[in-house]
């Protein structure tokens, strides 16, 4: 018995030592919004470069910002651009700057689980703001019904779902609401919600939505699509009801692409344009300006170059929109600047 036990231990220890050889692991954490495409990318990139592993954990944009600032992960990911204070905090703590690299374009969609409603509902900005403020409490409220003539909306209470942790997806949603509603004051990743249940990650909100009748939640497009969850069209700034898809999200980014600031931090919610989907957003990888570890630096740069070019081929299959060409070109130059 003793012999067997010591043999097992020896094998395990040896195994772990041997394996620790030449695999480079780059750890990242952050947004759940782009998690489907990131996990796909890192998987594909690993087959191309088997000696590097990108271990990405989706814990929410807030977590990505925090952990990359602490230095416990090598890079972060966020749908919310870091504020000047946060960037300064990073500089103070780590002695170098933090760079934002847009990766894809995505959209927050208002998904719902209403018994008896199988089609696409139309939501006005006032309806969405009212629901999330707790002012509109029933599905058959005139604010919702007026945009959905002919749809049989039940008189049930709306179950509002939101994120329980600091979320870039929340930031996009609240950023939009604060632009279209004068009553909606809070904007950020982690707000004091007037109503609703909290769930963890886009995954958690979608999961809760599926099992909770009469619920409404904001999730990234792919989560609704992959899980056969109904999502609605939103009235954009030009007055048209638009459903989120590749065309409408790309249209929202069209204007911003030309005037993209050098640090890539920009908001494209409530974008002008007849075809634009109003709750669209870029999402960013947060990469430190300077890397101590040369191996990690090279791996990250290699990945970023690949992501901007070949990686973009995989995004549309997962319902994310590609980076506009002008943005991609600017990014390539920015990757060069990583030390």
């Amino acid at each position: 018995m003793k012999r067997v036990a010591s043999l097992v231990v020896a094998v395990l220890v040896l195994g772990t030592l041997l394996y620790a050889q030449n695999h480079l692991v780059v750890t990242g954490a952050g947004a759940t919004f782009p998690y489907p495409i990131y996990s796909k990318w890192f998987d594909v990139f690993h087959t191309k470069s088997p000696d590097v592993e990108f271990n990405y954990q989706s814990i929410g944009s807030g977590g990505g910002i925090k952990q990359v600032t602490e230095g416990t992960v090598d890079f972060g990911a966020s749908d919310m651009p870091m504020t000047d204070e946060l960037m300064k905090a990073f500089q103070d703590k780590r002695g170098t700057g933090i760079l934002h690299f847009p990766t894809v374009l995505g959209a927050d969609v208002p998904s719902y689980n209403v018994p008896g409603v199988t089609g696409t509902l139309n939501f006005t900005p006032e309806a969405l703001a009212g629901i999330y403020l707790g002012k509109i409490t029933k599905w058959n409220d005139p604010a919702i019904a007026s945009a959905n003539k002919g749809v049989n909306l039940p008189a049930n209470d709306i179950v509002v779902l939101h994120r329980s942790e600091g979320s870039g997806t929340t930031f996009i949603w609240t950023d939009y609401l604060s632009k279209v509603s004068s009553e909606w004051k809070s904007k950020g990743a982690s707000i004091n919600w007037p109503v609703g249940l909290g769930a963890k990650g886009n995954e958690g909100v979608t999961g809760l939505l599926k099992t909770t009748p009469n619920s409404i939640g904001y999730v990234e497009l792919i989560y609704a699509a992959q899980n056969n969850v109904a999502y609605g069209a939103v009235k954009n700034a030009a007055g048209t009801f638009v459903k989120a898809d590749l065309a409408s999200v790309s249209a929202a980014a069209a204007g911003a692409a030309k005037d993209m600031p050098a640090d890539f931090r920009v908001s494209i919610t409530n974008a002008p344009g007849a075809k634009a989907y109003p709750i669209s957003s870029f999402t960013w990888l947060l990469i430190p300006q300077r890397f101590q570890d040369a191996g990690k630096r090279e791996a990250v740069k290699k990945f970023l170059y690949w992501m901007i070019a070949d990686g973009q081929k995989d995004v549309e299959a997962l319902s994310y929109a590609k980076l506009p060409k002008e943005v991609a070109d600017k990014e390539k130059k920015a990757v060069d600047s990583i030390q």
């Binding site: 772990t16 695999h23 996990s39 271990n55 602490e70 963890k200 995954e203 999961g207």
Partner: protein
């Protein structure tokens, strides 16, 4: 028989029957859990589950091979931290210490035992993860190891104390030093109990999730060595269960079945060892 007596007898039988129902319900919960896990996860525990890595989000298939390995490594390292401290500390309490020191150590162990596992998690984050700037298997093992200490300490002390005095005295009378007595007479006499408590401590921390959230973090790949983040069964169950993907639910049930099966087996083995008696082994 008077009416009053008949009533009292009826009440007696009724209430006692009710207690039987309570017992049935309580035990029934165990079988409910096992039943659900078997039903929902039984078919998903296949070869893929044990050998494949997780697939990208939204794709079906894949497995939890890295989580199983991660849990194994975490438990191994946690034992290396928790067992020696508990074992040797228990020897000290039982064989060497005065009652004052003993009560302080015991009190500290009880205190540690009562600390909620999430608090152990944030403690491990601030003393291991932050200074080294790494989520790692070691950090996770540190958190789990701390949780093992009180169980192994108290049990080792109790089982050593239960060894009859005359065994010790006999050994000393033959000229053996105290330490020799402890190692060749006292500990072997109590080894069943001590082994049991180590196994039980292991079973206890095998299922812990909260302390791993901020220490071992998570890993979609194999975790090399001891200083990288690692996946683990409990954390995978947590992440997959609250997700919307049916395939992930299926895998969560399977992982739950494997995890619970492992824990129950350890428990049953431990208790069987103990029930065979704490007699001095011959060999």
């Amino acid at each position: 028989m008077s009416a009053r007596l008949r009533w009292r007898k009826f009440v007696s039988n009724f209430m006692l029957g009710l207690t039987g129902v309570c017992a049935l319900v309580s035990v029934g919960v165990l079988f409910l859990i096992l039943g659900y896990l078997l039903y929902n996860g039984g078919t998903s525990v296949n070869w893929d589950f044990f050998t494949k890595l997780p697939k990208p989000v939204g794709e079906t298939g894949g497995g939890m091979a890295n989580a199983i390995m991660g849990s194994a490594k975490l438990l191994l390292a946690a034992s290396l931290i928790g067992v020696p401290i508990g074992f040797f500390g228990g020897i000290y309490l039982s064989e060497f210490s005065g009652s004052f020191t003993a009560s302080i150590v015991r009190y500290a162990a009880d205190l540690l035992n009562g600390v909620p596992s999430i608090v152990i998690g944030i403690f491990a984050y601030s003393v291991v993860v932050l200074p080294f700037k790494h989520f790692s298997t070691l950090a996770g093992a540190f958190a789990l190891g701390i949780m093992m200490i009180p169980i192994t300490l108290r049990s080792t002390e109790e089982f050593l104390k239960a060894v009859p005095r005359n065994l010790r005295e006999g050994s000393m009378a033959l000229g053996a030093s105290k330490w020799k007595t402890i190692t060749s007479v006292v500990v072997p006499a109590a080894y069943r109990g001590i082994l049991t408590s180590i196994l039980l401590a292991l079973a206890r921390v095998a299922g812990e999730t909260a302390p791993l959230l901020f220490t071992a973090f998570g890993n979609r790949y194999w975790s090399n060595g001891w200083t990288q983040p690692t996946s683990s069964l409990p954390v995978m169950i947590f992440n997959y269960a609250v997700s919307p993907y049916e395939d992930w639910h299926r895998q969560a049930w399977a992982a739950g079945l494997v995890l619970l099966g492992l824990i129950l087996i350890i428990n049953i083995v431990a208790r069987t060892i103990l029930s065979r008696g704490i007699a001095v082994p011959r060999s």
